[in-house]
Amino acid sequence: MKTNLNNCPIKSLLTIEQISSAATPECQRRLMQHGLVVGSTVKILQRDWGLPLLIEIRDVVMAIGKEESRFVEVKDFSPEILNKPSPNKKI
């Protein structure tokens, strides 16, 4: 399974690897216009209880739908976060 925003631990810092080609061209452009581009760092602030994901991208807090977040493929989990997972984390 590829790692995407929707299956990463809360509070982890991630680097965007690519926007999945499964997303429609419109969705790809919208994600990218909001700064979700290859190489950008994303922090997951909240993801639970059926609410959208809350992320920090380019110093801006944004809500992103779960479906859209699945198109954002990421790498480079920050190790300190992975070693001390949040009690709320759901992978």
């Binding site: 990218m32 216009q33 700064g35 581009v37 209880w49 809350l54 801006v60 807090v61 859209e68």
Partner: protein, 626 residues
């Protein structure tokens, strides 16, 4: 020298605040994206130039999809657009004022790069300098300005010195020729995913090069969001806030309403005492004062509702409501963002329907417009308040909440719930579309500005008073004429008002009563319902007028209208009338806006028909059940 300028910026970058500061106008500016859904034109002067400025809706990129963004995009790229043609906005512009939020440059500079790469002439205005400075940001603006070879200014749109520096900078501009459309590069040649990725890399390089001190994170907003966006606490807070609103509507506004009511009663009595001519006396006291006064008495409640919505908007909380409610809205195939037009519709459906332009998907926009009339706009407050007061005494409480407030809350929720059902049917069965992309920026929390609140309340109260002095006055007079004519001869041989059932209004009410009789309504209520199709709050005035004829002396006060209703109608009829007003078609001006927003008569007719059928069916069911 004159200059045509257009004001462009990303949503929530402070465009409207700058427009107001430059032109001295008082348009609404708030702390959530998508406030400017109309194009506004204003004028101002510097010491050397006369400027005509157009404020366009915010946009994230020139490659945008939503209806409001496309208006701004097409104006900038000089493309044809139905809405722009409708507004006759075809004047070529000389220059763009591109305004961005200083605290969000890593993201918002993308739009500036697009402008630069497409050869669009612009001044870059970095707004909210005060917030950025507070958070430690320092940028070498002069060096950056030279590097890009454009004018870049840091300002705070609410600061007079900042505005003065902008005016000075405008004076220093060289002569500018109107933008030639062929000069602008074709966007399709440069826009692709590689272009976007490259642009963000370039943004990072520029900020790295010219930033002296980086901006610190907004810890205040993060701390508040920890609780207000929490799935449990945040949702509970949202419910308490909404319940508190209805509590306030009844408890806080009651003394103000009493005061206005006493004033109107005094004025009515004075008219009766002073004017010797019976016809003129009745016209003024029963037609004008009773008609308009019975609606004006609800001004405090309307202002408290508006105050509450302004505070929600200005503080930045409204975007959080959209976040919290998105999961629920998604089940109805609507985006969480749709809650913003729907909440705005609670003050007045017209701005709510217009702000649906911020929704990217056309089916989402049409669905939101279709259900906006089911949200309880402030025009319903007079009717709800009057009828609820006939059902429950104000002294009855359930825990900390008055039962009157809880019933009002229930009515609001009832309309909204049916709105959601209609939305689900439209999205799933008619449009058969569920796709939308939730990407919502959450603005930082800000303390609502007193000036903004006063401006908002002034705007709402003036709009209400204007309506009371316009359509409500006209309808009240028209109804009074129908009630007082044809004149009949009394036993002494002089002319006087006829018995109500012999008046034109009575005859009309009796003629249409078979339609409303199954709902328990008599011919008086049927008569009073007719003008409410033009403006809902007129129902109260019409009931007051219809019932003022033959009213007993001790019941002449406006507040006694509810006693009259209580005495004349059984509870099931009052409930049926209440439910009728939850669903009944909106006022004429709302349908005019729906026609404009949907470019035709199809949607106004659909919405009118379904709300009419729904109102009748639900009122009939209520009558049968109780």
């Amino acid at each position: 020298m004159s200059l045509n300028v257009c004001l462009i910026g990303q949503p929530n970058s402070g465009k409207t605040a700058l427009f107001n500061a430059l032109t001295g106008q008082n348009f609404k500016s708030t702390n959530y994206p998508g406030v400017t859904v109309e194009c506004r034109i204003g004028k101002f002067k510097t010491s050397q130039k006369e400027i005509e400025i157009i404020d366009l809706p915010g946009l994230y990129s020139l490659d945008s999809y939503s209806f409001d963004e496309s208006i701004a995009r097409d104006y900038i790229l000089r493309k044809s657009n139905k809405f722009l043609s409708h507004l006759n906005l075809n004047t070529p512009y000389d220059l763009v004022f591109l305004i961005l939020d200083s605290t969000r440059l890593t993201k918002s500079l993308y739009l500036a790069l697009e402008f630069k790469k497409l050869n669009i002439p612009f001044i870059l205005i970095l707004n909210m300098k005060d917030s950025a400075t507070q958070r430690g940001q320092e940028i070498n603006i002069d060096a950056w300005s030279k590097f890009w070879n454009i004018k870049i200014l840091e300002i705070s749109a609410i600061n007079k010195d900042s505005i003065q520096s902008l005016l000075t900078a405008i004076d220093q501009l060289d002569v500018i020729a109107p933008v030639n459309p062929s000069y602008i590069k074709d966007i399709s040649q440069v826009k692709n995913t590689a272009f976007i990725a490259e642009s963000f890399k370039e943004i990072d390089q520029i900020l790295e090069k010219f930033t002296i001190s980086k901006i610190k994170p907004d810890t205040k907003t993060a701390r508040i969001d920890k609780y207000l966006l929490h799935p449990v606490f945040g949702t509970l807070f949202m419910i308490v806030i909404l319940l508190g609103l209805f509590q306030l509507l009844f408890t806080v506004s009651a003394p103000f309403q009493d005061l206005i009511s006493t004033g109107i009663d005094y004025l009515s009595q004075l008219t009766k005492d002073v004017i010797p001519y019976p016809l003129l006396r009745d016209f003024l006291s029963d037609g004008v004062i009773a008609g308009v006064g019975s609606v004006i008495v609800f001004l405090p409640q309307i202002l408290f509702l508006s105050l509450f919505i302004i505070i929600l908007e200005d503080s930045g909380y409204l975007a959080r409501v959209a976040f919290l409610i998105d999961g629920f809205m998604k089940r109805l195939a609507l985006p969480g963002k749709a809650i913003i037009p729907l909440l705005s519709s609670h003050a007045c459906a017209i701005p709510g329907i217009m702000s649906a332009r911020t929704l990217e998907n056309e089916s989402d926009r049409l669905t939101t417009i279709a259900i906006a009339p089911l949200t309880a706009c402030s025009a319903r407050i007079p009717v709800y308040t009057l009828l609820i007061s006939t059902l429950v005494a104000p002294s009855i409480y359930f825990g900390p909440f008055s039962v009157q407030a809880l019933i009002m809350f229930f009515l609001y929720m009832l309309g909204l719930s049916f709105g959601f059902i209609v939305a689900w049917i439209l999205k799933k069965k008619v449009f058969k579309s569920s796709a939308y992309h939730l990407l919502l920026e959450l603005p930082p929390y800000r303390l609502p500005m007193l000036k903004n609140i006063i401006q908002g309340l002034k705007f709402r109260s003036m709009a209400f008073i204007k309506k009371a002095g316009g359509v409500i006055l006209v309808l009240s007079i028209f109804l009074w004429l129908l009630i007082y004519f044809p004149r009949v001869q009394n036993t002494e041989g002089s002319l006087e008002a006829p018995p109500i059932e012999q008046s034109y209004a009575g005859q009309l009410g009796i003629a249409i009563n078979p339609i409303f009789a199954p709902l328990g309504m008599d011919w008086k209520m049927s008569t009073a319902l007719i003008p409410s199709f033009a403006a809902r709050e007129v129902m109260v005035a019409s009931l007051a007028l219809v019932n003022s004829v033959g009213m007993e002396k001790e019941e002449e006060g406006l507040l006694d209208l509810h006693k009259k209703i209580q005495r004349e109608y059984p509870m099931d009829t009052i409930l049926a009338l209440l439910i009728w007003f939850v669903f009944a078609p909106q006022c004429l001006s709302t349908f005019a806006v729906i026609k404009r927003e949907t470019h035709g008569m199809k949607w106004p007719l659909i919405i009118f028909s379904y709300t009419l059928v729904l109102a009748y069916t639900m009122a009939l069911l209520t009558k049968a059940l109780f």
